[in-house]
Symmetry: C2
């Protein structure tokens, strides 16, 4: 498990929004109160908006809000919105030889690992995190 800063920041920001609900928060406000680099945060909020997890409004009372209830947004959705790719091996598989079967077997292994991961992150919502309801 490698947690990128993007994902971490995205979740921190979303949790702040979940706690502020239904009041909107501007990017600047989020940046200050949670020590997130402003311009980087803006880029991240852009990803979240394009993934329809968040929406923003202009004056009066400008800022970002969750686009749906915190209980319906899972951590998995956030990860996929931010990091895009669900997984991926770096090494390209050989096109022939006895290693073929081995590679197929490893594929299944990584798939099983991924499934285990998804079972956690797709079952935890922003509301869970906000309220401290965590998995075992």
């Amino acid at each position: 498990m490698q947690i990128t800063a993007r994902v971490e920041y995205a979740l921190r920001a979303l949790l702040a929004l979940a706690s502020a609900e239904p009041a909107p928060l501007t990017a600047a406000a989020l940046s200050e109160s949670h020590a997130l680099p402003l311009t980087f945060l803006q880029a991240i909020l852009g990803d979240l908006r394009r993934a329809d997890l968040v929406l923003n409004q202009r004056l009066p009372d400008p800022g970002y809000r969750l686009s749906r209830p915190a209980a319906t947004i899972t951590v998995g959705q956030v990860l996929r919105a931010i990091d895009g790719k669900p997984a991926g091996r770096r090494a390209d598989p050989p096109t022939s030889g006895p290693a073929q079967d081995v590679v197929r077997t490893l594929d299944l292994l990584w798939e099983a690992a991924d499934t285990a991961l998804l079972s956690v992150i797709d079952s935890v919502t922003l509301a869970d995190l906000r309220d401290g309801h965590l998995p075992t």
Copy 2:
């Protein structure tokens, strides 16, 4: 889940060794039959040897062998031997402010995700992979 080439190559090599048991295979032989870059593979085998997963012997009949039965080596052990670190966030946590609690909550989340992952990779052995016994 991000699978590095090092881990992938290590597992391919170990599976080859597990299948060849108890005959030793040289680095060159592994490199050729499984299309692994030789010098890179040597570095990886060095890690595996230092982690006591593999041992090598000189003439006569030189090469690498598993240092213990394939059924007692788990994928998790290999991952830890090769990539070292169990996990890690990139973003450094804030030293003060209301984000403190959020960060602690996220810590627990990542820990849960890690546990889920370990439950898979620490329960699958090289013998399982070699024989096609995979987790659900």
